[in-house]
Symmetry: C2
Subunit: 403 residues, 2 copies
């Protein structure tokens, strides 16, 4: 057990964040993740980090904040958290974010509108800029199996079973996980290359209640898995990762999309989500549960109701093979095609990283303080690439890659 | 159980920190204290706090830091922690610090010299100045019973037994704890007044291997329990509290003192501590365990090897009545007379709060980035007040107040 934890922490530090000697390593985690955080700290120092700084978050304290804080503080960014983020960027630090919420529906009974609005705006914009635009830091997101999360998935706190699934999806079950990761990253990169050769004008998702067309930018390219910082440090932002993704033209999304997996969002489970787009914009939000949270989030700022990412994943991915719904976006988005409303992955757009918000908008690249992924793929949903001539080329059928 | 936790949190927030409506409330705690932190957050908002900000500390991460960080970072203060503390002072915030270490000897096998030096100097000086000199914030220290702490005391994780002791010492067992606290605080205040009437020139501790004379300042007064901020908000810094204390003349301590209880210090248990003073200064440090940590701490800066506090407590205190060694200074110092090397409690010295370090030193008031209490009283140790004429007046005999 301990050995597994140490190996997993090492994978997160050496392959995920790829911490360089002398770097500061920031860790963000829930208090329930303490055993893993400790292993990450040890692995960080072993990799040569000069300081590991942990920011523990407590969902119950956040709940008390959303219920009890005055209206004007809901979007407030504590100055010291801004200082910390700024310092991390200035120093070209590394970051490991840990997910795996033991109570993903803890805020079910809290006013959804407040839940959707309660996010530190300045801090989120700052960290979004650092991580996605300026690419100042090498970062990764990983998850830690815990009793509450296991209970959410299986109906019982079978942590061992969750560990086995996790080990499979992050290739800890391989004799040489590091080598297995390199091979896997190469495979995803080839898939992105195949898509880029076609230079599709749009993607069309259809079936199972979805009929959605997403316009693509002519100067954006699908990418996969590997990021590089502006100072050329490779890192893997998500573990697991199975997606190829791109920033779409935010002005050209049309139609209706249904989510295919529940979405754990800010402490509420969003189920049966259906969004309608017109001229790129979300004009209607419906859900069986969590509707208010999504609506409040999409109304936070101008860009929050437009898309910032579209990603293709097929059911043969390791996460898909498990057949499990994880109630954790890091996993569920890697079992299924997904889209995100909010901030664009600017690094997929030629030369966009250093451009201003206005320049982004002018060329169809979305800007927002949020970036919320949700799952839209399953065997019922076919995906076509649409050429500039209007021809539909099958990319996914029955949840399998056919391009 | 939950009801008890909520009542205890309310006591900490309403009597301890005495949070005012609209204040920001900072909480510092170990990750193991999460259940209590959550109750404190709820109690904070219920008392009208506009924001409860929690700083979770992880002893294992700190251990990895001390073992792995480069030498020059041991005393480093992360800029964002300085910003946080500064903000708290600027905003006249409140603070609840939670102790109760589940593993007070976790760093037993770490180089004691590094353990003793690894403290963020700028941050500690800043918070010391705010809490003790300028008195900008209303703060309190409380403890949370947990399995590890109970095991340290009893040899088994009997949390329920620890809760019962805690409830007794903090008067949660009273039908009206708030009224019981007011009465208790009045009693301690009278004891301080009785001492102040005598205007002793020195205190003399003798017996059980101790023979120590501590010179007092003519313009300092014993105080007890109640603090007031500079903007006149009453608060109770320690719960429990049973002591009357004063800042001594740091230049006039002479002799030898033996600690009478183990001291949990920075992750190591210090046992059998014996210090020798000459001209106020600690000139010799001996201990059966933890000697290096104490030595490193007393060598951090010029003031660290001089006294900043002497406090009188008798064995009839509620903590004393339990007959238990708590391995937690907040409790053990309230069962026994104690002294602290390092920073003086400047508020006990007339007009010292707003004076500079140089002015303090010139009048015999110590300054340092540390303030470490340790226990020196038990039935073998007699305490006398020494008058200006050299007459010895008994204050404590057989661990009972006799003045």
């Amino acid at each position: 057990m301990n050995d597994r934890l140490e190996r997993y922490a090492e994978l997160a530090v050496r392959i995920g964040a790829n911490v360089a000697p002398g770097q500061i390593l920031a860790v963000t985690a829930l208090v329930e993740h303490a055993p893993f955080v400790r292993a990450v700290a040890r692995a960080g120092y072993a990799a040569g980090a000069r300081c590991v700084d942990v920011n523990y978050v407590d969902s119950h304290v956040r709940k008390a904040f959303i219920e009890g804080a005055p209206e004007e503080l809901l979007e407030w960014s504590p100055p010291w958290k801004v200082t910390r983020q700024q310092y991390l960027g200035d120093e070209r630090g590394a970051e490991v974010s840990i997910s795996g919420d033991p109570e993903p529906n803890l805020l079910a009974d809290v006013d959804g509108d407040r839940v959707g609005r309660a996010m530190p705006r300045e801090l989120m914009e700052l960290s979004g800029r650092m991580m996605l635009d300026e690419q100042l830091i090498n970062w990764t997101s990983v998850s830690f199996p815990n009793a509450g999360w296991a209970e959410t998935i299986f109906g019982e706190p079978d942590v061992e079973r969750l560990w086995e699934l996790l080990a499979f999806t992050v290739r800890l079950d391989e004799p040489d996980p590091v080598a297995a990761w390199r091979e896997h990253l190469d495979r995803l990169t080839s898939r992105a290359a195949a898509l880029n050769e076609r230079r599709f004008d749009a993607l069309h998702f259809h079936g199972g209640g979805t009929d959605l067309t997403i316009g693509l930018l002519s100067d954006a390219s699908f990418e996969a898995a590997r990021f590089h910082t502006s100072w050329d440090r490779e890192h893997v932002p998500n573990m697991p990762t199975e997606e190829v993704y791109v920033a779409p033209d935010f002005r050209r999304t049309e139609g209706v999309v249904r989510s295919t997996r529940p979405l754990a969002l800010l402490g509420q489970l969003v189920e049966g989500l259906e969004l309608r787009f017109q001229g790129g914009k979300i004009v209607d939000v419906k859900a069986d549960a969590g509707e208010e949270v999504v609506r409040a989030q999409t109304q936070r700022d101008e860009g929050a109701s437009y898309l910032g990412e579209v990603a293709l994943v097929d059911g043969t991915s390791r996460v898909g093979q498990t057949g499990v719904v994880f109630y954790n976006t890091l996993f569920d988005e890697n079992a299924s095609c997904h889209i995100a409303f909010g901030k664009a992955i600017t690094r997929t757009v030629e030369g966009a990283g250093t451009q201003s918000t206005e320049e982004h908008r002018a060329r169809g690249v979305n800007h927002s303080s949020v970036h919320t992924d949700f799952m839209i793929g399953n065997p019922e949903v076919a995906v076509d690439g649409v050429t500039r001539d209007g021809e539909a080329v099958p990319i996914l059928r029955d949840d399998r890659w056919v391009l």
